[in-house]
């Protein structure tokens, strides 16, 4: 599903990277622990769902090859973190729901986990 379409399912807004909204996302991982994300058997077209807004969430995404980050509970990272995400071409989104509700809404749309399983 394109990021632009995914946004509507969870009432998200784009923090940065609006030129990246036609990215296709298939797999989603949700965690506040960065090594848990790196432990997943990652495929491509993936997005990270997290409440962690520090610069390490961006770096973890870069290392893992995760293509977009969605923050829950309306969280927004500081500008320096947004700049880092921009420099790596990673779009950032935020949505009002909790991790649980956001995950449930997205799961219902047919997304898989980072390893491709449901």
């Amino acid at each position: 599903m394109k990021l632009s379409e995914l946004i509507d399912k969870i009432d998200a807004v784009v923090i940065s990277g609006d030129h990246k909204l036609d990215l296709d996302i298939e797999r989603i991982g949700a965690s506040d622990m960065m090594s848990d994300i790196l432990a997943a058997n990652l495929g491509t077209s993936s997005m990270l769902l997290t409440g962690l807004t520090n610069v390490q969430s961006i770096k973890t995404a870069v290392i893992a090859g995760v293509e977009a980050i969605l923050f829950v509970r309306n969280k927004r990272p500081p500008q320096a973190v947004i700049d880092t995400a921009n420099s790596h071409g990673i779009p950032l989104l935020t949505c009002p729901y909790s991790m649980f509700v956001t995950s449930g809404r997205l799961y219902a749309q047919g997304f898989t986990g980072l390893n491709g399983l449901r």
Partner: protein, 152 residues
């Protein structure tokens, strides 16, 4: 191909810059045309090792060497060392403080991830003496994509 070497000094507890050595290695491997699945494995190991040296160690140093047949990551520090390596290798074992957990670390998955993603992991450590983690990745001829390609 001559061996390609690069090294970095790691500043302890500098979480703003932590991870930059690994991202730089990731870019370097892309530039020399290493296959993407292998780059991801090396990058994950590099990042976990770099974060451990920054978070748990002192005076970290990070080296990568790319040979014809293998890639070697050699990350060492002069920190407190690991008392029980077998225990540290267990999934979920972590001594990370609450402060580090709030920053997204402390899942106790770094060393297990390094073991999973490398072809060989060697850890030398002694309490009070520091830690050295060496990871090796074999490079088969197919691991290097032909960047220049056959002209059309």
């Amino acid at each position: 191909m001559a061996a390609l070497k690069k090294s970095f000094q790691l500043k302890s507890r500098d979480f703003i810059h932590a991870g930059e050595a690994s991202i730089s290695v990731q870019n370097m491997l892309k530039q020399i045309g290493i296959e993407s699945a292998l780059i991801r494995r090396v990058a994950i190991c590099a990042y976990e090792g770099e974060m451990n040296a920054v978070m748990h160690g002192e005076n970290g140093s990070f080296r990568i060497e790319v040979n014809t047949d293998k890639i070697i990551l050699d990350i060492s520090d002069e920190g407190p060392g690991i008392e029980d390596i077998a225990k540290a290798m267990e999934k979920g074992f972590s001594t990370a403080s609450e402060e580090y957990r709030e920053m997204g670390f402390g899942a106790g998955m770094g060393l297990p991830n390094m073991e999973t993603h490398s072809d060989r992991l060697d850890i030398e450590s002694e309490k009070g003496q520091g830690t050295r983690v060496v990871m090796r990745f074999s490079l088969s001829p197919g691991s290097r994509e032909n960047k220049t390609g056959q002209s059309a």
